[in-house]
């Protein structure tokens, strides 16, 4: 083999390593294989294992080698995401007749969990994009679906979800962005805050007030970039999620055709919430991927780092810590997958289960990644090591798509209200 290595120097790629298209060297996740107890492919159908394999391969080859650079240079990786879209990741649960892949919520969760091991921030954005594409696919009429969905599924165009405002976060129904009907246009005035992709994306799914106060006065309109009166705030500087730009989205007498309204007037809040149910599963799935990666990184580090004359893997305290991390990872995975199935089947417990999954999984997975960082010791704090990026990137999952406090509100309400 060494002789062959010397002699192929003249040939194109110059290094004899199986899978030269696979960046083995940088991806320690794949090097040692996966212990059965935390194997994410257990219990899946053959087809789901295939989906998962593609997502893991894509994450390892196209995302993981760049994840640090995308974070440090704050690059929005358009090309990588378009490659993902070519594989069908642009509209995973969107109908095939408009370019989607038509898969289930569970398939989607499995895919995002795997992609997230390559880069949480980028995968989280892809999930938001998917959520928007689904909303147009599900609540739009045929003209709207055909106008927007194909480009979104191929990621020829990118989407943003605009609900939060400076004055209304958890209290989303109190949003103020107004949409006054004038002839065949709505004139939008107001601003949205913390919009993922804002300024770099092309299609904005905006919740705005067309009617009275409260949720029933809210409608959902699609605003295209370039519309007069649409502008953006400065790019926010964030602790994580740096591969997606976050900006305020500002409407000043922005005229949007009435034909861009999804569903009827007053249905906007319900559309937004239904989008979020799936979004919560997706975000929880992203947290899962980060935690999975972190558990493997922690385990590998423990097998290598020596102190007091032996590897850290001989320390009972750390063995127990690792066991706890693995247990919480598997418990989280089961809850997310159950919630995905419940949502797919339209079960009565779906909304609560999605909230429970988001609450439990984002909290537990953050604790797992944080613990993994601790296990790395001083090295865990260096940006040369991936574990700190997983920690920074998933911290926000406990806040957005409905804070974990709001998740508790939803669950409590379902427990205390007899239907």
């Amino acid at each position: 083999m060494a002789a062959a290595m010397a002699l192929v120097r003249g040939v194109r790629f110059g290094s004899y390593s199986i899978g030269r298209s696979r960046s083995l060297i940088f991806n320690s996740l794949q090097r040692r294989g996966i212990a059965a107890c935390v194997d994410p492919s257990i219990g899946l159908t053959d087809e789901q294992k295939e989906f998962q394999k593609v997502a893991f391969d894509f994450a390892a080859n196209e995302m993981a080698p760049h994840m640090a650079e995308w974070d440090q240079k704050e690059i929005f990786p358009v090309e990588a995401m378009r490659k993902a879209a070519q594989l069908g990741f642009g509209g995973i649960y969107v109908n095939p007749d408009v370019g989607g892949s038509g898969l289930s919520r569970l398939d989607t969760s499995i895919i995002f969990e795997a992609l997230s091991t390559g880069c949480v921030s980028t995968t989280a954005y892809i999930s938001i994009h998917n959520m928007c594409a689904w909303m147009i696919d599900t609540f739009g009429n045929n003209e709207q679906r055909e106008k927007f969905c194909p480009d979104l599924c191929s990621m020829q165009k990118f989407a943003s979800y605009c609900l939060t405002e400076p004055g209304s976060g958890s209290d989303a129904a109190s949003l103020l962005t107004s949409a006054k009907l004038q002839g065949d246009h709505y004139i939008l005035n107001g601003s949205k805050a913390f919009i993922s992709g804002g300024g770099d994306t092309d299609v904005y799914v905006v919740m705005c007030r067309t009617g009275e106060k409260g949720p029933k006065g809210i409608s959902c309109v699609v605003v295209e970039k370039g519309t007069a009166g649409l502008s953006f705030g400065k790019k926010e500087k964030k602790v994580g999620w740096n591969s997606q730009p976050t900006r305020a989205v500002i409407f000043e007498d922005c005229a949007v055709p009435v034909t861009n309204r999804l569903g009827a007037e007053g249905e906007g809040f319900s559309i937004a919430m239904k989008g979020l149910n799936g979004g919560r599963i997706n975000i929880a799935s992203c947290s899962l991927g980060a935690a999975h990666a972190s558990v493997l990184l922690a385990r590998d580090h423990m097998c290598v780092r020596k102190q007091f004359g032996e590897t850290l893997s001989n320390s009972q305290f750390l063995q127990f810590k690792l066991a706890e991390m693995a247990t919480k990872l598997v418990a989280s995975r089961l809850l997310v997958r159950q919630a995905a199935v419940a949502l797919q089947e339209g079960r009565p417990d779906a909304v609560s289960l999605c909230s429970m999954a988001k609450l439990f999984v984002t909290d537990e997975c953050f604790a797992i990644c944080n613990q993994a960082l601790q296990i790395h010791g001083g090295y865990g704090y260096l940006k040369d090591y991936a574990v700190q990026q997983y920690v920074r990137d998933i911290r926000v999952h406990q806040i957005l798509e409905g804070t974990n406090e709001v998740m508790r509100m939803i669950i409590a309400r379902s427990l205390l209200t007899e239907s």
Partner: protein, 235 residues
């Protein structure tokens, strides 16, 4: 072009797995270990599918020999673009001792049965590193062979193959039907897309037994022992 291509795909232990030798030293642990398609077989499938996309061949048939589990490997080939699959059922002791000679006899028989014009195989499998099946298959069929291919061009019924050899690159022209074995730089295998994975479910895999092909799979080799090297080999 009405050519039919047979592509061999072998299910092997995944390249990333840490190999462990069985305590009785008769082989390596395969139970519960992650398996996937041999990387060189992936390159072979990719080449066949590319030929089909260029409309130079009509049908790509993926073939694998082994127990029930090899159907996963055939499905991966189908998801990459192969049209149908053939599962040659070999299991138990026969599978443990299955080697290049038996597999090449199977391929030779299938090539005649399916009237294949081209057989593309990976140059070697990453578990046994034999690098024999392609060459033996060509010999049994008395077909020309283009091994260690880093470039393959189909021109009418001739094949131009650029081979990676010790001295550099050698270009040969061989007549069809022929056997080609894929080397590392032949192409970069595509990812299966989600829609193709779903379409693959509907593609047919036919089962066939070696006896039906008139092939005796008993081995003439006996493995005496399998040991782990004490230290990574150094030259």
């Amino acid at each position: 072009m009405s050519a039919r291509v047979l592509v061999g795909v072998k299910r092997v232990i995944d390249y990333a797995v840490k190999i462990r030798v069985k305590p009785d030293r008769t082989g390596v642990v395969t139970d519960g270990v992650k398996h996937s398609m041999n990387p060189f077989c992936e390159i072979a499938v990719e080449e066949a599918v590319k030929l089909k996309e260029k409309k130079l061949v009509k049908e790509v048939v993926a073939v694998s020999c082994g127990p029930q589990q090899v159907q996963e490997t055939i499905r991966t080939a189908l998801a990459m673009g192969a049209d149908r699959g053939i599962h040659v059922e070999v299991s138990g002791k026969d599978y443990e001792t299955l080697g290049p000679l038996q597999v090449s006899k199977i391929f030779a028989a299938l090539a005649k049965k399916e009237q294949a014009d081209l057989i593309i195989l990976g140059k070697q499998a990453i578990d046994d590193d034999c690098n024999q099946t392609g060459q033996m298959t060509a010999a049994l069929l008395d077909w020309p062979q283009g091994t260690f291919a880093s470039e393959v061009t189909l021109e009418a019924d001739k094949l131009k193959v650029v081979r990676e050899i010790d001295g550099g690159l050698e270009t040969i022209k061989i007549n069809l039907p022929a056997v080609v074995t894929a080397d590392l730089r032949l192409n970069t295998p595509r990812y299966a897309t989600l829609p193709n994975i779903m379409k693959a479910k509907k593609k047919k895999i036919t089962n066939v037994k070696p006896a039906d092909l008139g092939v005796d799979v008993s081995s003439r080799l006996e493995v005496l022992k399998v040991e782990k090297l004490k230290e990574a080999g150094r030259i």
